[in-house]
């Protein structure tokens, strides 16, 4: 790494920067977009069924939970950390929240449930943030530990039984339609909860680009020591970003439950790599300091599309992991290549 650094800094006045490479280096999500469009075009040529409203709505529905996770992971990645505990936070909040509402207040208003789940997730996130800050070890290791801690508490002390019938308000929220239309005799519904994703994306975008906290997150991701000398409080930032990611995870958990009309404590954990892959494919560098909200959303769409179209173009679903794994490595290699070229 350092060897290439040397040559990099020695060649500051690049003679003729390649315009295209320069653009891609500054806006890596363009590649994600191109890839996404290419895949969609290719798939619709091979199998026109892809363009049916039903499969598009399916993709939209499938990207809500993953998109919420990805926004949280993106914030942490932008600040130079990594989080793998968010799925455990989501499973924890969704299951204990469902249990709580079902047993004690079956007709609690859904807005209250959502707020409570978000707050619960944020609380668990604060635990992450404090641990990462005070233990001063890579956040990957800390969050692997908290993932097992949260999941262990959930499964050992709270419950392992599937909740098949949700409290009525949560079930109704999962079925509430945003758009509904008929297509070939089937009713296709884009659920109301889909709106949560764009709303969360907007808030995240606003936070990152219009507030001091956003500045601070990118500054810490760029160089934590310099950011600290500039007067940013690392502790506040660590706690804030993990709490933010935890809040999004809690929200995603409740939506996952409402959408599936059941609460399974074994769900979600194990999907972390897909989410991290999505964020990285969206152009956020794992070493921090870069990335955009729109890129993250494109990355999520890319992973969801890849996962759902493999079968449509005749690739057996057993290949799904190979394809996503290869995508991660290719994207990583490509972004490193772009940096070097500069």
């Amino acid at each position: 790494m350092s060897a290439t650094h040397l040559t990099e800094s020695a060649a500051v006045p690049v003679p003729r920067p390649n315009r295209l490479l320069e653009l891609v280096r500054r806006r890596p999500e363009i590649i994600t977009l191109v890839l996404l469009v290419a895949i969609c075009v290719a798939v619709s040529i091979i199998n026109p069924a892809f363009l049916q409203p039903s499969s598009l709505v399916d993709i939209g529905r499938a990207s809500v939970v993953m998109g919420l996770f990805a926004l949280g992971v993106f914030i942490i990645l932008a600040a130079g950390g990594i989080d793998v505990s968010f799925t455990a936070i989501a499973a924890f909040t969704m299951y204990s929240m469902t249990l709580l509402v079902k047993n004690h207040w079956p007709d609690a208003p859904i807005s209250l449930v959502l707020v409570a789940a978000t707050a619960g997730g944020a609380l668990l996130g604060v635990v992450n943030g404090l641990l990462v800050h005070y233990l001063k070890v890579p956040s990957l290791i800390v969050t692997i530990g908290t993932q097992y801690l949260f999941r262990g508490i959930l499964l050992a002390f709270i419950g392992t039984v599937w909740i098949m019938s949700l409290p009525p308000t949560m079930g109704a929220f999962g079925r509430l339609p945003l758009v509904q239309f008929d297509s070939g005799g089937r009713t296709i519904t884009l659920p109301f909860y889909f709106l949560v994703l764009p709303a969360a994306a907007l808030i995240t975008w606003w936070m990152l680009n219009r507030t001091l906290m956003g500045r601070a997150i990118f500054a810490v991701g760029g160089n934590a020591n310099v950011a600290e000398r500039l007067g940013y409080s690392l502790r506040t930032i660590h706690v804030f970003m993990f709490a933010y990611a935890g809040a999004l995870a809690g929200l995603a958990g409740i939506i996952h439950t409402a959408a599936n009309r059941q609460s399974n404590p074994f769900d979600l954990v194990g999907t972390e790599i897909n989410v991290i892959a999505a964020v990285v494919l969206g152009g956020a560098r794992i070493t921090g300091g870069t990335g955009t909200v729109i890129g993250t959303l494109l990355g999520v769409l890319l992973v969801v599309v890849v996962n759902s179209v493999l079968v449509m173009v005749g690739i057996p679903s057993t290949w799904q992991r190979v394809v996503v794994g290869a995508f991660i490595l290719l994207a990583a290699a490509f972004f490193v290549f772009c940096q070097k070229k500069n």
């Binding site: 890579p138 530990g145 097992y148 999941r151 392992t160 790599i273 070493t287 794994g325 990583a332």
Partner: protein
């Protein structure tokens, strides 16, 4: 840098205390030869993976190997599928066993080298690279086996490795100790070991000093891959089947053992003997939780809590605080 002797002393004390505690609550059956043998037999698969994680961590620069258990499963599955296609484990047990072992080790080394090349040549961050290869290896294992368990059976040589005893000690444990001793010697007495540790301490200085960075990194990850292959062999030998999703919690446990052993996550320090002792301590605790009849989920919870505790122990140098005179500070 961290104190070096203290960690070893602490791990020995923990092990002795655990053995004594186990004996006390079980009325002696915890120390029965049968129980000790069964614990020693369970240890190697996870022990190999933990040494692999330690090597990657020592390399510094965010080095970590998340693909260990995925690669172990891949090597077992691929070797079982390939070797099984031209040899039968029931008819030619010796040939099958040897071919299986060779196949698994080759796949392990190839996978590890792949990691090393991506990290050193393409400069991909180790976390990202091994996350990607973890998924890739798991995926390849699914593709190779069609998502099903592949039967290895119990051919003589292989089942001897998995279940046999040598002077009352499980053969898999003997192999584990021998390999651990070999790796320890490699780190202690060869230039490779010195390069690895110094590179982990200060990557920039290592480059200016002219260390063969690429070679050291590739060798490190290839060794980690070889250890995964060995773990794959032991897993196949102890279970009649190999499957792509075996041991999903091994990733955490391997990292937990490395952290317990005082390996620095930032790189530059780690001792094989401490990893072995930490693995033994963890196995003792795991068996003790089993004795208490607690569920797997309590164990998950305990491992998570333990990992965080040991991170705190390392951070606040509790070992040095308890034992200030005997431990020498390095730089």
């Amino acid at each position: 840098m961290r104190t070096t002797g203290g960690q070893l002393v602490m791990l020995v004390v923990i092990n002795v205390a655990l053995l004594a505690f186990g004996a006390a609550i079980s009325g002696g059956t915890f120390l029965s030869p049968f129980n000790l043998q069964s614990m020693a037999g369970q240890l190697p698969e996870i022990g190999f993976l933990a040494i692999g994680v330690m090597l990657a961590m020592c390399a510094g620069n965010g080095g970590i190997d998340l693909s260990g258990i995925a690669l172990a499963n891949l090597s077992g599955v691929v070797s079982a599928v390939v070797v099984g296609s031209f040899l039968s484990s029931a008819d030619q047990p010796a040939a099958y066993s040897l071919a299986f072992i060779a196949g698994a080790l080759v796949v392990g080394v190839l996978g590890g080298t792949f990691n090393g090349v991506l990290i050193s040549r393409l400069n991909i961050t180790p976390i990202l690279c091994t996350l990607g290869t973890q998924m890739l290896f798991t995926g390849l294992a699914v593709v190779a086996s069609d998502g099903r368990a592949v039967t290895v059976g119990s051919p003589d040589l292989l089942s001897e490795i998995g279940n046999g005893l040598f002077l009352g000690v499980p053969i898999s444990f003997v192999i584990f100790i021998a390999v651990a001793a070999f790796i320890a010697a490699l780190l202690k007495f060869t230039p490779f070991g010195l390069w690895l540790m110094l590179m982990g301490t200060n990557p920039k200085a290592a480059v200016y000093a002219g260390f063969p960075r690429t070679k050291v990194l590739i060798a490190t990850y290839a060794t980690s891959g070889l250890l995964s292959g060995l773990a794959g062999v032991i897993i196949a030998a102890r279970n009649v089947n190999v499957k792509w999703d075996y041991g999903t919690s091994y990733l955490l446990i391997a990292i937990l053992i490395a952290v317990m052993a005082g390996v620095r996550p930032e790189g530059g320090y780690g001792r094989v003997i401490c990893v072995v002792l930490a693995a033994i301590a963890l196995q003792l605790m795991s068996s003790m939780l089993n004795f208490g009849g607690l569920s797997n989920f309590v164990r998950d919870f305990a491992w998570g809590a333990l990992l965080l505790t040991f991170l705190a122990v390392g951070r606040y140098n509790v070992v040095g605080f308890l034992n200030p005179n005997k431990s020498k500070k390095l730089v």
